[in-house]
Symmetry: C3
C-alpha cells in the first residue's frame, strides 16, 4: 500500500480535534422563530416574535461511550433558549435535560439528573403540536385558573413537565415493543419555592409501527402539599392509518379535593414534504380548592397547523388556534396581551421557520 | 481501487461525530483580555484586567444548510462573555446574536431574531477600533450625560446597538456592490424597563475594493417615548489608499427636541503583520430634555492603536485614548474610577492579547 | 498517485466543519451525579441527588494554536454546572476558568483571566478526593465557623479557590521537574461584595515520577481587609510507592490575629480498574476575630472512597466521610439538613456515576 496515501488519510483523520475524534460529543439543537398574533376577548391583540413554535429552540451537548459487552455510558445536557431575545428559557441553564446514563442492552438504562417526568412524556407524545406553539396543549396545563396545579405549587415551578434530581430506570429497546420506565426524585427538603419535590413516577406502554398505547402516573410532594400528593396521570394511544397518525390521550391532575381533567384528540397527516396537523383539547375542573368550588372553569382548545419541510432539518410552518373558555375560566394562548375577560375567547395564529442542526 | 484504502478513508471520515459530519455546526469565538489603566480628572486612576478590547470575547454556534436551488437555511447563536471574570456580558446569554435565516442567492436573506440594528452596523464598520477598547466610539454613545438616548430610554437597554425580535430582509451578494437591508421588530408592549421597542430600520450602501459608502436610519418606540420616535441615523464612507483605509462617519440620535451628533474620522494602516489605527470622534448635544438645555455637554475623543498579528487568529495589541469633555460633559473611558469632574479629561491605555478560535 | 483517492481523502477531511478542521476548538467536560445521604447530630438526615462528587460536572471549550518557533496561543473557557438541577454552579457562567494564553516552550506561559490561585492548586493536588464529594477537604475550608476566612470576606466570594482578573506567568515544562508560577490580580476597587480582591501569589515545586514537593502562598486584599492582607499558604508533597500514592499537605489561612491551620494526609491505591482512596484532615482555629477568641472551633474529617473505572472516561464510585467537631465548631458535610449541634458529628455517604467526554 502506498505510504503517501496512508499519511494523507491519517492527516484527514487528525484534522479533527481530539474530543470529536473520540466521538465523545455531539453538538446539536434547534433555532425556531415565528411571528405570532394573539387576541384575547376584552384585552385586544398583540403581535410578537416568539421562539420555538414548531420545536423548542435549544442547544444540546450529548454523547455516548461504548463500554463493550452491550454496556454504554452517556450524557445529555440540553439548554433551552428564547431565540427572539437571546435569553435563557430558564434560570436553569440546562433546564431541558441534564443527565448521565449507564445503559445495558439487556437490562435497560439507569439515568440520573433533571429530565421529563413519566406523565409528561406520555402526554406530549400524543400532542400533534408537541406541547409548543399557539396550539400547544400546554395552554391548558396552567396554574391559572386555580385548580389542583395552583393548589399544590402556587405559582412556583411544578412537576407537570420535568423534575430535578431524577433517578430513572428505563426499559431497554428490543422487548418486542414493550416500553416504559420508573422515576424517583428525593425531595431534598421539598421547598416549593425552590421547585423541589419528592417525586415517584411510572410509565409503561407498547408501540409498533401500526399503533401505540401507554399509561403513566407521577406523584409529587413538596412543602406546600400538606394534604397528600399531587397526582398526575396520563393514558394515551395512537394509530397509523396510511399517512395519517391519529392519537387520543387523557390526563388528570389531582390534589386534595381538586381535580383537572384533560382530553386530547390529535391528527397528523404527512404527504411528501407536507404535514397537516390538528388537535382538539378539553379541560375540566372538578372539586374544591380551599373550600371554594372550582367547577365551571373549563375550556376547549382547537388547533390547526401546516408544515412545509424544506429538508429533514428545516421547515416553514403556520398554525392557528382558539381557546373557548367556559364560566369564569381565563385560559389564554401565550404571548398575547395581559389578561382576558372571564369566559372569553383567545385566538392566535403564527408563521415561522424551524431549523435543526 | 484498493478496498483497504477505501475503508481507511471511510474511517477517517467516521472519526468525526454525526453532527459535524453533516457540517451542521461551527463552533468559533474570541477570547481577548487586556490590562487597562484609566485616569479621570478629579477621581484618580484605576488599573483593571478587561475583556474584549481588540474584539469582544464571545462564543459562537453557527451553521448553514444547503437546501439546493440557491436556497439555504442557517442559524447563529452568539454569546458575549467577560473573560476577566467569567461572567456573561448580559442576562441575555445569546445577547450578541440569536437568529435563524432562510437565504436565497437571488432574493436575499430573511433573518429572524436578535441582531444588530441597521444604524449600528453602518457606524461601527467605520470605527477603526470596532466599537471596543479604550478608544471605542461607544464611549460617546452613552446615556450619560443626559441627551436623546437618556430621554428615550432612561438607563434601560437601548436600541443603539441591537434589537430583540428582529425581522430582517438583507440584500443578496452579487448585486455589483450594492448592499443593504431592512429591519422590523414588533414592540410586544414596548416596556422600556424590559428593553422592548417597536423598531424599523433601513440600510443601503455600495462597496467595492476601493471604497464604500452607506447610509442607515433606525426608529424605535417604547413605553417611555411618548413624544414620538427615537431616531438613529448614520452615514459613512471609506476609501482604500494602498495599505491604508481611511473612513469618515456621521451619526445622529434624536428624540423630541434633543439631539446628539457624532462625527468620526478613522484610519487603519496595515504593513505585513503590523496594524496602526487612529480615530478622532466629536460628540455634540443640541436642544432640550425636559425643558432644560443640553447644549454644551460636548466631547472629543482621540485614539491611537497598534496591533501585532502573531497569526491570522492571534494578536498582541496596545491602545491609548483620551476624552476631552466640554462644559458640564462627563463622558469617560470605561472601566475607570467612579465619576469624573464636569468638563474633565479621561485618559486610558491598555495592552492585551486577542485569540480567535 | 490515484487522483480518485486524493479526492476521497480530501472529502474525508472536508466532512468536518471549518472550525474543527483548523483544530481550533476542543469541546470536553464531565457529567457526574451521585445519590448522597448526610446526617448531622441534632438536625437529622437528608437524601439528595448531587452533582460532581467524583469530578465537578463541567463543560469546557478550549483550544491551542501553534504559532511556530515554540510559541503557541490558546484559550480555555470552563463552565461549572449542577447536573442534578441543570443550574449553573455560579452566576459566573465560565466560573471554573476563562483564560487566554500565550506560551513559549522555553519561557513559559502568560495566562490572563479567571483561574485557580496558587495556594489552591498546591493544596487540592494532594487531596485524594480532589476537593469534591462528601470527603472533600473543602468541607473544612469554610466561612463557617468564624475564622480568618469569614473575618476577611464575610459570606462573600473569597480567594481560597479562584480569582478574577488574574495575570499569571507559569514555568514551562522541561525544567527537569521544576514547576511553578506567579499570579497577580488588580483589585479593581476591591469591593468584597463583588468578589473583587487585589491578589498576589507564588507557587514553586518539584515533581518526578517518584515524588513531588511544592509550596505556595497567596495574599489578597479587598474593601473589608483593613487590617492587612488575607494570607493563604500551602505546602505539600506526595510519594509513589508501587501502586499507592501517599500525600501530605499543610495549609494556613491568616487574617489579622486570626489563623486557621489545616493538615491533610491522603492515600490513593490503584489496582487495575479499582481505586481505593482515603484522607484524614484536621482543622484548627487560633487567635481572635473582633476581640473574641476563635480557639476550640476545631474539627477532624476522615474519608474513604472506592472507584471502579468502567473505562478511562466512565466510573462508578462510592464514598463515606465523617466530620467530628470539637468545642463549638459546626463544620458539616455539604447537602445535608440545615444546621448541626455545636461540636456535633456530620456523617455522609454517596454512590454515583462519573462520565467524562
Amino acid at each position: 500500500m502506498n505510504p503517501k496515501l496512508l499519511t494523507l488519510c491519517a492527516a484527514a483523520c487528525a484534522c479533527t480535534t481530539p474530543a470529536w475524534a473520540q466521538g465523545s460529543v455531539t453538538l446539536s439543537g434547534v433555532v425556531d422563530l415565528a411571528a405570532r398574533r394573539v387576541s384575547h376577548d376584552g384585552t385586544g391583540s398583540l403581535t410578537a416574535l416568539v421562539s420555538g413554535s414548531n420545536a423548542s429552540s435549544r442547544l444540546v451537548f450529548s454523547g455516548k461511550e461504548d463500554l463493550g459487552g452491550g454496556l454504554s455510558a452517556g450524557f445529555h445536557l440540553e439548554h433551552g433558549l428564547l431565540a427572539d431575545t437571546g435569553l435563557p428559557a430558564s434560570a436553569k441553564f440546562f433546564d431541558r435535560r441534564s443527565t448521565v446514563s449507564l445503559a445495558s442492552q439487556s437490562l435497560g438504562e439507569l439515568r440520573l439528573g433533571r429530565d421529563f417526568v413519566p406523565s409528561y412524556s406520555n402526554w406530549s407524545r400524543y400532542d400533534p403540536f408537541g406541547y409548543v406553539g399557539v396550539a400547544r396543549s400546554a395552554n391548558l396545563v396552567s396554574a391559572t385558573p386555580t385548580g389542583p396545579i395552583r393548589a399544590a405549587f402556587g405559582s412556583n415551578a411544578n412537576t407537570t413537565v420535568r423534575s430535578d434530581n431524577g433517578v430513572q430506570w428505563l426499559l431497554p429497546a428490543g422487548l418486542g415493543g414493550l416500553e416504559g420506565g420508573a422515576m424517583f426524585a428525593p425531595g431534598e427538603g421539598g421547598a416549593v419555592a425552590s421547585g423541589l419535590a419528592r417525586l415517584t413516577g411510572l410509565r409503561v406502554g407498547y408501540a409498533n409501527q401500526a399503533f401505540s398505547v401507554s399509561a403513566a402516573t407521577t406523584r409529587s410532594k413538596n412543602s406546600q402539599t400538606t394534604a397528600g400528593s399531587f397526582r398526575d396521570s396520563a393514558v394515551g394511544g395512537s394509530v397509523e392509518l396510511h399517512s395519517v397518525r391519529l392519537s387520543a390521550a387523557w390526563r388528570e391532575f389531582r390534589y386534595d379535593s381538586a381535580k383537572q381533567l384533560l382530553w386530547m384528540l390529535g391528527a397528523v397527516a404527512t404527504f411528501g414534504l407536507h404535514e397537516v396537523k390538528a388537535s382538539w383539547i378539553r379541560s375540566e375542573h372538578q372539586g374544591q380548592v380551599g373550600g371554594a368550588s372550582i367547577a365551571g372553569t373549563d375550556a376547549t382548545q382547537i388547533g390547526l397547523g401546516y408544515v412545509y419541510n424544506l429538508s429533514k432539518r428545516s421547515a416553514l410552518y403556520a398554525t392557528v388556534a382558539r381557546i373557548s373558555n367556559d364560566g369564569a375560566a381565563r385560559y389564554v394562548i401565550s404571548d398575547g396581551p395581559s389578561g382576558i375577560s372571564a369566559g372569553g375567547r383567545s385566538r392566535g395564529y403564527e408563521a415561522g421557520v424551524r431549523h435543526r442542526f
